[in-house]
């Protein structure tokens, strides 16, 4: 469990700086450092176990059904990176305390920094690939926040955006690669993946996986051709550059390659891509670095070049090269972090980073100059420093490979050339800044920084020296254990010595040194040569390509999603048709074995009427009133069909809904045009007719195939238990209010919400209120016919009585809340039609919203009531009581539930119709007032 705390402590630590910001800078810095320091202690406590080769893994289930679990581990590689991330992170916290000005929000900066630290730690200790990917994305997001920390600065915003876009795209590629790996291996667990090397390498999808994973790694680690974002990320505050762009963020890509090294390397494809990319990056970075006048720009390209070097090592394929890669990861992190911090101090104390103005600083800050010179010498690979050792190993490995066949000699030569440039730019960093005359026009008079601001550099530079002199003693074990988890097995024999004797690598070093010195002292010629080329501004190119992509997307969306609902409906139906139609092709016989009902004349004429009226609806659909009348015939026949096929409840419901629907649509016609213009092109009509006919054919076929096959239904359960369990003989009603009561509750809720939504839609509507129909005839003055008024008034009590009867008998005979509610609604609507809204307003004081509300409340309370008796939600209860005069009568809790249904249905229907209807009346009333 303590393993999880390694991640949890920094995660908790993100809020600490925000809380302690107000207590001053020093308190804030120390408080921020506390939790990461504890995490570092936890990591160090695991060191003996990791060195002994124990599997240090901790797992928590997360979504077991999907095979997802939270899982962290510490192997050699993870241990090394965790120490780098936490150790250098602590130094950065100290450094940033002095670097940030009082104008910067220190709490926010630290919060972003610790968030990034957590993300980076998460990548290295994740034992599950998907989990690792989540942290991977988290580093992209948090580095975006860090790079754009000075967000008033355009360059910072642009640089952050570019870094985010490039690494984010790489992250997507990585996700695809990870998912493919997970699918092939059958698990995202790292142990399982790492033991499936042969399976992955022999799989047909291997090239795709390698390219996707490498895309993720190359974008993150700024490898050619994705290296352009790193120099622009230098707009970040220097502590960020020192942390992200030396030891952590850009090393994540290297880490990824090292992590997958045991399973993905070892093939021609891997060697060619990785080694050539690394070599190109090494050369381009080293060459470009020399020409950068900006101190951090030089360091950025130098980082690109060193990352290329590590990538090249990982692409060589020998175990020894992997050891050298891990060694250089450590060394580069140490000297580059200190160099960035030194550059930050110079910037801080002089006010500029332009090397054309920075000269002769030795006189002003000898201590800092010494530290920077030692670190730069390590970068150049000077003996007695750690950079020298890994560079020698690198040279030895370039000599010992044959990846390019007979052209393999090119690699050591090009490596020497690259290193010569590395020496040259390191010399420039030393000579141009600290010597070479007097400073030019500095904004500030330089002096030494505060003691503690230099402390992190002291520590790192001391490490450069110590590791350079006693390599085996200091990091021999760590290197071995980390390298062995990269190689995935036994390491070759090697020695870490301060001196390897006179050999070819040493000669290459000497050549690089002299070459580099020569290049530097003759740099004016090179600068003139380079000045002939226009400098490619990656920012402009990037902006242009982003704009181009956006434009292409816009064109595509314009074409694909043009805002036409008609078109979407067509595409949707077409898609559904293909999905439904294809399986039917495999169905051999349409008709099933079930015995069919014989046809008689009544059925036949009903079907004919239905078909004719449906067709008439379509044919006359432009004359809307006629179409509506035809539609009502269809609805009527449908309810008759329900009655015929043994579904009296459905027939009653359909019939009453039919009445309400037609009245609603008639009302709608008042507000909408009464005819449809003829506007579809013949081609479109033909197209729609075709697709409709085919779709109808498919549905009919499916239906026929379905109903002619024997049925094995679960309904016997309901038939058996309706009486004994639900206390009713109308099984449909018992299902509604008892077995599936929760569904019904949901459905009446939807009904209520729909009605309220309609109420709101109508409420603020500037209605289109015509005074005449489309042909210019005014509406009739004969508002409420006398006959209708009188008869409907007399009918009302009768209708309500029928509705009460239907409601009460519903549990045992066709009826129930839904139907009774609809019948009541129709009875009230009839009054509206016969007398008008104004007449009814004084007589029927019902707030329909409250009716809906109380209906839902009653239904819910009935359900909740069973809790009081210790039963699950909506358990029903019933008993038989003998009432005087009436006799034995069943009382069931379900009837209360049905009452809720009834009230909701009445409220919803009336809220819809009365609300819309009253607009016709008030409008006409107002019209008369105007006249």
């Amino acid at each position: 469990m303590s393993l999880f705390w390694i991640l949890l402590l920094p995660l908790l630590g993100t809020v600490v700086p925000l809380l302690t910001d107000r207590f001053g800078r020093t308190v804030c810095a120390f408080a921020t450092a506390t939790l990461p320091a504890m995490a570092l202690v936890l990591v160090l406590l695991q060191v003996p176990a990791v060195f002994d080769g124990e599997a240090v893994v901790a797992t928590l289930p997360w979504i077991p059904l999907l095979g997802l679990e939270l899982s962290v581990h510490l192997d050699g590689l993870a241990l090394l990176f965790a120490m780098l991330v936490l150790g250098i992170g602590l130094l950065i916290i100290l450094y940033a305390r002095y670097y940030l000005s009082s104008k910067d929000s220190m709490g926010l900066f630290y919060a972003y920094l610790i968030l990034f630290m957590t993300a980076m730690l998460g990548i290295v200790v994740s034992h599950n690939l998907l989990q690792m990917w989540v942290f991977w994305e988290m580093t992209s997001v948090s580095s975006f926040l860090l790079i754009s920390f000075w967000n008033h600065n355009t360059d910072a915003r642009k640089g952050a955006r570019m870094a985010m876009t490039v690494t984010g795209l790489g992250g997507l590629a990585l996700l695809a690669g990870v998912i493919m790996i997970g699918n092939i291996v059958g698990s995202y667990d790292l142990t399982a993946v790492l033991s499936s090397g042969d399976l992955l390498r022999e799989h047909a999808a291997y090239p795709v996986i390698v390219i996707l994973v490498l895309l993720g790694a190359f974008t993150k680690s700024a490898q050619f051709p994705f290296h352009f974002w790193l120099p622009y990320a230098m707009a970040a505050p220097t502590p960020v550059s020192a942390y992200l762009h030396s030891a952590t963020m850009v090393k994540a890509g290297i880490f990824l390659m090292a992590r997958f090294y045991p399973v993905l390397s070892g093939t021609e494809l891997w060697f060619v891509i990785v080694s050539l990319t690394g070599l190109t990056t090494l050369l381009i970075g080293a060459y470009t670095a020399l020409f950068k006048h900006d101190l951090k720009g030089l360091l950025a390209y130098s980082t690109v070049s060193h990352l290329g070097l590590i990538t090249l090592l990982l692409g060589m394929g020998s175990d020894m090269a992997a050891v050298a890669a891990v060694f250089h990861i450590i060394n580069h992190a140490i000297f580059k972090a200190s160099l960035f911090m030194a550059a930050g101090i110079i910037d801080h104390e002089t006010g500029t980073r332009d090397m054309r103005r920075l000269n002769g600083l030795w006189k002003y800050m000898p201590y800092t100059a010494t530290l920077a010179m030692v670190a730069a010498a390590s970068m150049a690979g000077v003996p007695l420093l750690n950079g020298f050792l890994s560079k020698e190993m690198f040279f030895a490995e370039t000599l010992d490979q044959s990846s390019l066949g007979s052209l393999s000699w090119m690699i050591p030569v090009l490596a020497t050339v690259g290193t010569a440039f590395s020496v040259a730019y390191s010399l420039r960093f030393i000579h141009d800044v600290f010597f070479n005359g007097e400073p030019v026009d500095l904004p500030k008079t330089p002096h030494e920084p505060p003691r503690c601001m230099r402390l992190p550099i002291d520590i790192l530079v001391a490490l450069c020296l110590l590791v350079g002199i006693w390599p085996a003693l200091l990091i021999g074990d760590l290197l071995a254990v980390a390298a062995s988890s990269v190689v995935g097995g036994e390491l070759p024999l090697y020695g870490l010595y301060i001196w390897h004797g006179f050999n070819l690598p040493l000669l290459m070093s000497a050549l690089a040194m002299t070459g580099g010195a020569y290049v530097y002292f003759n740099r004016e010629k090179l600068f003139t040569f380079q000045a002939q080329f226009p400098e490619a501004n990656a920012n402009l190119i990037f902006d242009k390509s982003v704009k181009w992509v956006m434009k292409q997307c816009a064109v595509f969306i314009e074409w694909f999603e043009n805002g036409s609902l008609q078109r979407y409906a067509f595409l949707l139906i077409l898609f559904a048709m293909v999905l439904l139609g294809l399986p039917l092709v495999d169905l051999d016989t349409t008709a099933g074995l079930r015995s069919q009902i014989p046809v008689d004349a009544v059925m036949l004429s009903g079907a004919a009427l239905l078909a004719l009226s449906a067709l008439a609806t379509v044919i006359w659909h432009r004359r809307r009133l006629i179409a509506l009348l035809m539609l009502s015939v269809v609805g009527l026949i449908v309810s008759l069909a329900f009655a015929l096929f043994s579904a009296p409840d459905l027939a009653l419901t359909q019939l009453s809904v039919e009445v309400v629907t037609i009245i609603l649509l008639l009302l709608a016609l008042f507000f909408l045009p009464q005819s449809t213009p003829k506007e579809s092109s013949p081609r479109r009509v033909a197209r729609d007719l075709t697709i409709a006919a085919i779709f109808g054919g498919i549905i009919g076929t499916i239906n026929y195939a379905l109903i002619t096959r024997p049925l094995d239904s679960i309904s016997d359960f309901f038939l058996d238990n309706a009486k004994t369990g639900g206390g009713g003989t109308n099984v449909v009603n018992v299902i509604l209010v008892d077995f599936r009561g929760f569904d019904t509750l949901g459905e009446i809720t939807v009904l209520g919400i729909a009605a309220l939504g309609i109420y709101k839609l109508i409420a603020r509507m500037g209605l289109f209120k015509p005074t005449s129909d489309d042909d210019g005839r005014p509406w009739t003055e004969d508002k409420h016919p006398m006959m209708l008024s009188v008869i409907s008034q007399g009918l009302l009590p009768l209708a309500l009585l029928v509705s009460a009867y239907i409601f009460l008998r519903g549990h045992n005979l066709p009826g129930g809340g839904f139907i009774a509610g609809l019948v009541t609604s129709i009875a009230i609507i009839q009054q509206y039609i016969a007398h008008g809204v104004d007449w009814l307003k004084d007589r029927l004081k019902l707030d329909y919203q409250k009716v809906i509300g109380s209906g839902l409340l009653i239904a819910t309370l009935t359900g909740v009531g069973s809790w009081a008796f210790g039963y699950p939600f909506l358990t029903s209860w019933y008993d038989y009581w003998t009432w005087p005069l009436i006799g034995e009568f069943e009382v069931a809790s379900a009837i209360a539930f049905d009452l809720g249904v009834y009230l909701t249905v009445v409220g919803a229907t009336m809220l819809i119709l009365a609300n819309l209807g009253q607009h016709t009346t008030t409008e006409r009333a107002r019209e008369t007032e105007h006249q």
């Binding site: 805002g563 507000f671 009904l751």
Partner: protein, 121 residues
């Protein structure tokens, strides 16, 4: 009879779909209503067709399948609520946009004013 029933369901579907693909709101609403008849009949028939049966215990020797009936019963009521919602949406769209095309604007080149409301007033 099953064949006739299936034919009717298919025909209702086809008619409903054709109207659903029209450009004006009212035919679309009518089309959706036809389509919902078809859907309800289809779902109902998944309990198979039975004549002279019942779902009332003790009333008949043959029992119809009550489960699809219960589902369709609520579907009819919800269908009404949804139709009502679409109708009101159509009315609202006409009052806000000035036309009753489903795309919210009259198709270009049809010779129709893009804003009928203003013209009327």
């Amino acid at each position: 009879m099953e064949a006739i029933f299936a034919f009717c369901v298919g025909l209702l579907t086809a008619c409903g779909l054709f109207l659903t693909l029209r450009g004006r709101t009212f035919p679309v609403v009518v089309g959706i209503t036809l389509l919902s008849y078809a859907v309800n009949l289809f779902l109902f028939s998944s309990g198979r067709l039975l004549i002279n049966g019942a779902t009332i215990l003790g009333q008949s020797e043959q029992y119809a399948d009550p489960l699809p009936q219960a589902l369709v019963l609520t579907a009819i009521v919800i269908g009404f609520a949804m139709t009502a919602f679409v109708v009101i949406l159509a009315i609202r769209a006409r009052s806000d946009l000035g036309n009753d095309h489903v795309d919210g604007r009259n198709p270009p080149g049809a010779g129709l004013p893009s804003d009928r409301l203003k013209e009327k007033n």
